[in-house]
């Protein structure tokens, strides 16, 4: 009798727990874009330093990703998912360069709530050298998990 009551009570308890956890509506709390994450470093000191002014415009685009903003560290650079390369005009402290990326893209399911995004594998980065001195690739795989992908020395 006692054990039977325990079974029934345990069942009711499990039901209540399931009600509690199953009625949470599905919402997406994750980043749904995979950005290339670029950190800025001073060539002279080798230390991380955000530019005083940063402008980033995709070649062929009318709108800027960043427009004369200071203190951006790191810069989150979106890649074109319908192509295998894309280029940006990057202006650091008023001096312009062009930076280009070659990469592969593939679909990745983030979650049921957030849906799909594109992940990328970075192949090559090159740029003009007006203010940019060196670009190092630190992490080739570009995901929505905020890993540093490249270091830009200027």
């Amino acid at each position: 009798m006692r054990s039977f009551r325990i079974y029934v009570s345990a069942s009711v308890l499990i039901c209540v727990l399931i009600i509690t956890f199953s009625c949470t509506p599905g919402m997406c709390f994750e980043e749904t874009n995979a950005f290339l994450e670029a950190s800025f470093y001073l060539e002279s000191t080798g230390k991380a330093k955000a530019p005083d002014s940063l402008t980033l415009i995709g070649l062929g685009k009318d709108t800027a990703r960043y427009n004369k903003v200071g203190g951006i560290q790191p810069a989150l650079i979106p890649l074109n998912t319908s192509a295998e390369n894309c280029s940006f005009m990057i202006k650091i402290n008023g001096v312009s360069d062009t930076i280009s990326f070659l990469y592969n893209s593939w679909l990745h399911l983030i979650s049921k709530e957030c849906g799909y995004t594109y992940y990328h594998s970075l192949d090559t980065v090159y740029s003009t050298r007006n203010i940019i001195d060196t670009i190092l690739i630190k992490q080739k795989t570009i995901t929505n998990l905020n890993d540093q992908n490249i270091q830009i020395y200027y």
Binding site: F4, V8, I14, N80, T81
Partner: protein, 272 residues
């Protein structure tokens, strides 16, 4: 909201079915025979909430049935199969999944034979499940700085498998006709497809986003008795009267009453 109704219904089922089982339990405790005859049965049942939910406009069809055979008064082997048709739409994609699933394992009845009498079952199922499905994302939209990309993922077949614990309750309402419910607590062993495009749903398991899923099923079952088993009931051993030393919480400690040479009154408050 439908989920809430399902849980409320399950709670009501407990309340409805509980008195019968308790009466049986009481009868069993009143008369304590040495043996009890338990009918072993083949059970075949269908899950009823899946089709009902589908008819109320949900985009998920889950049809499921099972057969179980009693091995003895405690154990039974279980085999279940089902079909699932799952559709899901989110703001940036439409997803379809169709497939079949099979479950097999054992059912353990925790009730004593003189309580269960082949009519009541309260216990746990331990099962292995395997699922074969086709998964498709018919439209998919992705938007970022460079614009909008619209694409799709063509149908892919997959196979997933999982383990399941299924505690539940079942009672015979009429002659050889039972209803009951069971919870399903499942652990995904393998989702069946590649890492980046894993399925959202696995038939028989549920949402594949997590490695753990839970659900509840309501079953109508037809029971076919095929054999009678005479089970010896172990009489509950009467509790041995405690020794006088054990009655005293501070036995072994010299007290004033003990110092009287055991000439204590039958009822005497302890004197300190």
């Amino acid at each position: 909201m439908i989920r809430i109704y399902r849980y409320i219904i399950s709670f009501l089922l407990i309340l409805i079915l509980l008195p019968d089982a308790l009466i049986a339990q009481e009868q069993a405790t009143e008369e304590i025979p040495d043996t009890v005859t338990v009918p072993l049965k083949i059970r075949t049942g269908v899950e009823i909430s899946g089709p009902v939910i589908y008819l109320t406009g949900k985009k998920i069809l889950n049809a499921e049935g099972y057969v179980s055979v009693d091995l003895n008064e405690k154990l039974g082997v279980y085999f279940g199969a089902g079909y699932s048709d799952y559709k899901y739409s989110q703001y940036n994609y439409d997803y379809l999944n169709k497939g079949i699933f099979f479950r097999t394992g054992i059912d353990i009845n925790f009730l004593k034979p003189q309580v269960a009498m082949g009519k009541y079952w309260a216990g746990m199922g331990i099962r292995y499940g395997i699922s074969f499905f086709t998964s498709e994302t018919s439209t998919l939209t992705h938007e970022n700085y460079w614009g909008k990309t619209i694409t799709s993922l063509s149908p892919e077949t997959g196979m997933g498998h999982f383990l399941e614990l299924s505690p539940g309750f079942r009672a015979e309402l009429f002659n050889n006709f039972s209803i009951g419910w069971s919870l399903s607590l499942r652990r995904l062993l393998y989702p069946g497809t590649k890492k980046d495009i894993r399925p959202l749903y696995i038939p028989g398991f549920g949402s594949a986003g997590e490695s753990f899923s839970a659900g509840i099923g309501y079953f109508i079952t037809w029971n076919i008795p095929f054999k009678k088993l005479r089970v010896v009931i172990k009489p509950e051993e009467p509790e041995e009267p405690l020794e006088e030393d054990e009655l005293s919480p501070d036995s072994g400690v010299e007290t004033e009453s003990q110092s009287l040479g055991g000439r204590r009154p039958a009822i005497q408050p302890r004197i300190r």
